[in-house]
């Protein structure tokens, strides 16, 4: 794979849905174009209802654009592919499976022998520091541990691109900080290209290389920010940097948070 070809590229992507009252259409995202380079960590921030989840579904191949193309390493996305792993706010672990078998889940659609599946799953469990929980069931783990298990499952299929849709938003503030660092380290060691969808500005600044700011519906990219901070694998260290605060203040203004009355 050539490094010149972006891992993910959206080119003039528009997605319209029939309106819920049955009449007319509403446009979730309009003429959206951006790309993510190999190994890059890009965040998408924006007000609620700006079509962030639509982007996720389009890139995962679960939905198709009304206009424009979504390309993965140059190839147009036509359906779900094994090159994309995604993670939601919900961990989506299967409660009837042990953590090990949950991590193996994504590999079961491939021609893997059980031994190969197990080896791969244990490698990811080690990376996410969950080896000792391999034989536990999801209910026996804390919320943070479950999200780490979900990341292990996502990375086990060795995706070219990982989509994270607000993976930390259901956690309490402290667990969130610890987990963000844990994810940042894991993603740095695996070198995987990542697209994070979030509404948490500080999360976007401390974790990513680049931030795309979206407008309200129909979602468009109104600004692109190069974070340009060191220590991507340590969000807590970045949190303390003055430039991080500048970017956060800038984002705060860009999203007109101070002018908004309705939450």
């Amino acid at each position: 794979m050539s490094l010149a070809v972006p891992t993910l590229q959206l080119d003039g992507v528009t997605r319209r849905f029939p309106a819920s009252n049955g009449k007319g259409v509403f446009t979730a995202i309009e003429k959206l174009s951006f790309s993510v380079r190999h190994g890059e960590f890009v965040s998408v921030v924006g007000p609620s209802g700006c079509g962030k989840s639509t982007i996720l579904n389009l890139v995962a191949g679960l939905d198709h654009p009304s206009e424009g193309d979504v390309r993965l390493s140059g190839e147009i996305v036509t359906g779900p592919s094994s090159h994309v792993g995604f993670m939601l706010q919900k961990d989506l672990l299967l409660p009837w499976r042990t953590i090990l078998h949950n991590v193996e889940f994504g590999l079961e659609a491939r021609n893997f022998t059980p031994t190969m599946r197990r080896e791969r799953a244990f490698r990811e469990l080690r990376r996410c520091r969950l080896t000792e929980f391999a034989d536990r069931y999801p209910y026996q783990l804390s919320g943070g541990q479950r999200q780490r298990a979900a990341l292990a499952r996502t990375l086990a299929i060795e995706p070219e691109l990982v989509l994270l849709d607000e993976p930390f938003s259901a956690l309490d503030a402290q667990t969130k900080l610890v987990l963000q660092r844990s994810f940042a380290q894991t993603i740095a060691t695996s070198g995987v290209t990542t697209l994070l969808i979030t509404h948490d500005l500080s999360e976007a600044v401390t974790m990513s290389d680049r931030i795309l700011v979206m407008s309200e519906r129909p979602g468009r990219i109104v600004e692109e920010i190069d974070v340009g901070l060191p220590d991507r694998e340590n969000p807590m260290a970045r949190q303390a940097m003055p430039r991080a605060h500048e970017i956060m203040a800038h984002l705060f203004n860009a999203l007109h948070l101070d002018e908004r009355i309705e939450a």
Binding site: A60, G61, L62, P80, S81, S82, V84, G85, F86, L88, K90, D91, L92, L94, P95, W96, R97, F105, G106, E108, A109, F133, R136, Y137, P138, Y139, Q140, L141, S142, G143, G144, Q145, R146, Q147, I157, A170, L171, D172, T175
Partner: protein
């Protein structure tokens, strides 16, 4: 949200304590009371049995209305020796188990098939509802007219009675499977067959088990009604036979054995459920 679930059930596992230092319930009066519960239940039983033995004679209630406890015990012995109680019990239990197994199998198959084809489910749902409401045991005379006085009428009634709660429960479970789980499996390129066996089917197990528990108790009712309607075998037959002879004790005893069969079936299903659903944390009682 995930955290709040873990926090609300502090007994799930000690590991949770790492992120959720939930306090264990304070020991003391609560625990003492819980340990006394079986004793209290037993005392209630002894009280009722005692009343049954002495109250009818004290109130001058004749034996053909309410026999004494000792009459019931004596009659049980007589039924064992002279009425072939064992054979009748085995027949009823076999029919209940067979009808339960067939009804559960059919109910499950139809539940999953309809659950996988929303179109058919919509087309058939008014009729399913009608059949669900129709009293299935009332079909028994019809089946006797069709098949005669043999095992078929009671077996078919039992199958019908067991079929619906299981089918409806599975249908409900198939409708409420988490869409995100299905999408996750689709994103992993899984086929429809894989999605069924890896997501939909295991996700439906709690509802299937709840349906089976209801079905196990209904099966005994189905068989009994079938036996009451006609035929010469089974505990339901012993009930009508005892009624014809004005042998109240015999009727009571047959009901008692029927209840035992129902409880045994319920226990077996509940034991299977506990094993099958081990991954669901137990709630506080």
């Amino acid at each position: 949200m995930a955290d709040s679930i873990a926090a609300s059930s502090p007994d799930t596992a000690p590991i949770v304590a790492e992120d959720n230092p939930a306090a264990p319930p304070p020991p003391g009066r609560q625990e003492v009371r819980v340990s006394l519960l079986p004793v209290a239940s037993l005392l209630v039983l002894v009280l009722i049995l005692g009343l049954w033995q002495f109250l009818p004679t004290a109130l001058h209630v004749p034996k053909y209305i309410i026999p004494q406890l000792s009459d019931l015990v004596r009659e049980m012995g007589r039924m064992w020796q002279q009425e072939n109680l064992l054979m009748h019990s085995v027949s009823t239990a076999t029919m209940a188990c067979l009808g339960f197994a067939l009804g559960a199998l059919l109910g499950a198959v139809f539940g999953y098939l309809l659950g996988l084809s929303p179109l058919w489910e919509k087309v058939l749902s008014p009729y399913i509802l009608a059949l669900q409401i129709a009293p299935k045991v009332a079909f028994a005379p019809l089946f006797i007219m069709w098949f005669g006085y043999n095992a078929w009428p009671k077996l078919i009634v039992t199958i019908l009675v067991v079929f619906f709660p299981i089918m409806v429960n599975i249908l409900q479970a198939m409708r409420t499977v988490d869409r995100d789980l299905i999408n996750l499996a689709r994103a992993y390129n899984m086929s429809g067959r894989q999605i069924f066996w890896k997501i939909r089917f295991p996700a439906s197990i709690p509802s299937l088990m709840a349906g089976l528990r209801i079905g196990a108790t209904l099966a005994v009712i189905g068989v009994t009604v079938g036996e009451l309607m006609g035929g010469e075998i089974g505990l339901g037959f012993l009930i009508t036979y005892g009624e014809g002879q004005a042998n109240t004790a015999m009727v009571f005893d047959a009901i008692f054995v029927l209840t035992l069969i129902g409880i045994a079936m319920y226990w077996v299903v509940a034991a299977i459920e506990t094993r099958a659903l081990h991954y669901i944390p137990k709630a506080h009682h």
